[in-house]
Amino acid sequence: MRLSVQEQPFDAGAELNAFTAGVSGAGAVVSFTGIVRDLSGTLRAMEIEHYPGMTQSAISAIMDEAMTRWSLSDALVIHRYGALKPGAQIMMVATASAHRLAAFEAAEFLMDYLKSRAPFWKKEIGLDGAEWVAAKDEDEAALTRW
């Protein structure tokens, strides 16, 4: 199990390969990569603030729960903070399991919890000003699935 909260970019492909090489006995590896979108064409940067003391412990707790609940072979979370350009990769999750359903479900579970329970806040810096991204009701609702 590996968790990295970092400012610098990561190489999702290299991370996926290292993760896959490190699991033995898994038949299924699922990865998710989140990317900064520029919906309006006016985004200069996405600034991600976090709560350093809490980030590690909150995400570790979520990962521990996923490992146990889906009997995962392994799990990986990388999440960046700081100023990210449109098209930049914000974060990634990877899960490894004996079976595909467990790997998919655990990855979705991790994503749903990272969205609403890990202490990150996004601010969109546009050409016309800056705005905090509001939490979506649907993200909060997604948690009821688990």
């Binding site: 999440h79 974060m91 969205k115 329970r117 890990a118 202490p119 990150f120 806040w121 905090w132 939490a135």
Partner: protein, 82 residues
């Protein structure tokens, strides 16, 4: 003494990321009342509790939770990670 941390727009409204306070507040709600009475910028930041979350010693908590023994209180809007 308790460390109080502010994040995202809560930090921006209050105008600082953290401060250390002497308080006798029994609960988070009491602490919010105390801060809001102090200055307008606090009252503004805490005006809508539904849009706020609180963590006590880095664990998500509720506003009616007791502060006894707590060393770090953090206020912030709903998280938007992922």
């Amino acid at each position: 003494m308790v460390d109080v941390l502010y994040f995202a727009w809560v930090r921006e409204r209050i105008g600082l990321p953290r401060e250390t306070l002497a308080t006798n507040a029994a609960t988070v709600t009491d602490l919010i009342a105390e801060l809001s009475a102090r200055e307008e910028r606090y009252a503004l930041a805490f005006s809508d509790l539904k849009s706020l979350r609180v963590a006590l010693d880095q664990k998500l908590s509720s506003f009616d939770a007791p502060l006894s023994g707590v060393r770090e209180v953090a206020f912030f809007p709903p998280m938007t990670g992922g």
